[in-house]
């Protein structure tokens, strides 16, 4: 199995060090979730992998290339849904078509084949029938699907998602994660999810990494995550109850 993303002893800082000695590998065709509380460096980790923030020590490779050289079409990125202005005057179709416009040269209009790719991407996430609807008027789950289609339309090898379950109810979350599993199984896509919610992702991922400035645990969700590792990531006052496919319960007093 090939390595899709490799971080080797990566250090990143703004005014102070945010990520410390991070070594992490995402295998191709795997779903890896990085979990950690707010302020643990999850978004910085994503920025580093996306080539938006350079590490001052260590190296990052995305399919063997430096993140900025990995190029368009390799990475599909899904930002946090609340980062999008709800009144932005575009439809679901427009939202997906943006990705095709991004790499245009001088002639800025879409060819018929490109329009078909946009429609196909929307159909793929069962949003074809709502293509003309104003993006801001869609439900949280529908918006998330449209944003996935926007990433898919570039036919990426890896999909990177930032807090994808925020704002989704339990049913929408289940449907959303089922869709991600399909992308992995049917398309061989690699998926990297960043989340503060360990419970939401533990049932669907191949691997979990617990991050709070450092990586405190990296393994399969079926492995028992040592309590002291969780305590370092989420703090001492948290009680954990996992209800994933393995029904693993991990509590301080157990």
């Amino acid at each position: 199995m090939k390595e899709a993303v490799v971080l080797d002893r990566v250090w990143v800082k703004f005014d102070q060090v945010v990520l410390e000695d991070i070594s992490l590998t995402v295998q191709e065709r795997h779903i890896l979730s990085v979990v950690g509380p707010n302020g643990s460096g999850k978004t910085t980790l994503l920025k580093a992998i996306l080539g938006l923030k350079d590490p001052y020590r260590g190296s990052i490779r995305v399919f063997g290339e430096e993140p900025r050289r990995a190029g368009r079409g390799v990475v599909g990125y899904l930002p946090q849904m609340n980062s999008i202005e709800p009144n932005f005057p575009v439809s679901a179709y427009d939202m997906v078509a943006f990705s095709r416009f991004a790499g245009k040269s001088l002639w800025p209009l879409l060819q018929k084949s490109e329009k078909n790719l946009v429609k196909d991407a929307l159909e793929r996430v069962q949003m074809g029938h709502l293509a003309e609807r104003h993006f801001g008027s869609l439900s949280g789950g529908q918006k998330q699907r449209v944003l996935i289609a926007r990433a898919l339309v570039l036919k990426p090898k890896i999909l990177i998602l930032d807090e994808p379950s925020t704002g989704l109810d339990a049913v929408a979350q289940d449907q959303f994660y089922a869709m991600l599993r399909t992308f992995r199984d049917a398309d061989g896509m690699t998926i990297l999810i960043v989340s503060h919610d360990i419970g939401a992702v533990s049932g669907i991922v191949d691997e979990i990494a617990c991050l709070n400035r450092k990586i405190h645990f990296h393994g399969r969700p079926s492995e028992t995550i040592r309590y002291d590792a969780l305590e370092k990531v989420f703090g001492k006052d948290i009680r954990f109850v996992f209800h994933d496919s393995n029904c693993l319960t991990c509590r301080k007093d157990s």
Binding site: S83, F88, P89, M95, A97, F98, K104, W107, H134, S137
Partner: protein, 267 residues
């Protein structure tokens, strides 16, 4: 009022107003979506410093204010991107620095008679045939650029990070947009003045976004609204014997508030 159409200065003001309607109708759309209204105010106020530099150095004030404005918008944009300054602090500092510098430099040229009121609030009598030709040239050069980069600008306005990851050269595009905005603001100062030009950068898109949720409708509506307030303001100002720039802005604001009220009161 038909006699107005035989007056050269009024025809020039009409022609320039129509051209500016097209430019501001499109640019205001991005200014509002990118939440850059204060940036528009900041750029327009730096014109004052540029004009004063031109007066002091005996160079064309239009040229000096153009260079000063473009330089200011470029520096603000870079400082904000580097994280050295927040957007509003950067604009606030340049805004006041430029006004202060302008007043200081003009005080050094006591013999020079400076049309302060015209600079701040506009003076349609000062619009020359060269101004109209320059506005036409800027419009003809700008429209193809906006056509080519329209969707990329829109994508960047929506989500700069995703646009960058998807292949948009966001830094170059942002710098290009800032320079274009500075250019259009400088050429329109003669008509509406430094203080009132911000209204043209904000009102058209705000009005249209209150009515439509599709950018294909918002932009034509912005252009039409801008033309109505500029041309309507010109005729009204003649009829009521009021300053043209101020009349356009008050007319535009009243239209906007009435529309907003109608939209919100609609059952």
């Amino acid at each position: 009022m038909s006699e107005l159409l035989h007056m050269d200065f009024f025809v020039r003001a009409l022609a320039m107003g129509l051209l500016l309607s097209v430019l501001f109708g499109i640019l205001s759309f991005f200014v509002v979506l990118r939440k850059m209204a204060f940036m528009g105010a900041g750029i327009s106020h730096t014109v004052f410093g540029g004009l004063a530099v031109g007066v002091l150095l005996n160079i064309d004030p239009f040229l000096s204010s153009l260079v000063f404005c473009m330089l200011s918008s470029f520096i603000i944009s870079r400082l904000v991107r580097s994280g050295a300054l927040s957007h509003d602090s950067g604009i606030g500092i340049f805004f006041s620095f430029s006004m202060g510098l302008g007043a200081l430099l003009l005080s050094l040229r006591k013999a020079y008679t400076f049309d302060l009121s015209g600079t701040l609030f506009g003076n349609i009598l000062g619009i020359t045939p060269v101004d109209v030709k320059m506005t036409l040239a800027v419009t003809l050069a700008t429209l193809p650029l906006l056509f080519v980069f329209f969707h990329r600008l829109l994508f960047m306005s929506l989500d700069e990070t995703v646009a960058r990851v998807s292949g948009v050269h966001t830094r170059a595009l942002d710098s290009g947009f800032m320079l274009l905005l500075a250019l259009v603001i400088v050429i329109s100062v003669k008509m509406v003045g430094i203080i009132l030009v911000t209204a043209l950068a904000v009102l058209p898109a705000s009005f249209s976004l209150a009515l439509f949720r599709d950018y294909r409708k918002v932009i034509p509506c912005s252009i039409l609204y801008c033309a109505v307030i500029i041309i309507g303001g010109l005729f009204l100002s003649y009829w009521a014997d009021t300053p043209a720039g101020a009349t356009m802005v008050v007319l535009g604001a009243v239209l906007y508030f009435l529309t907003l009220a109608a939209v919100h009161l609609k059952p």
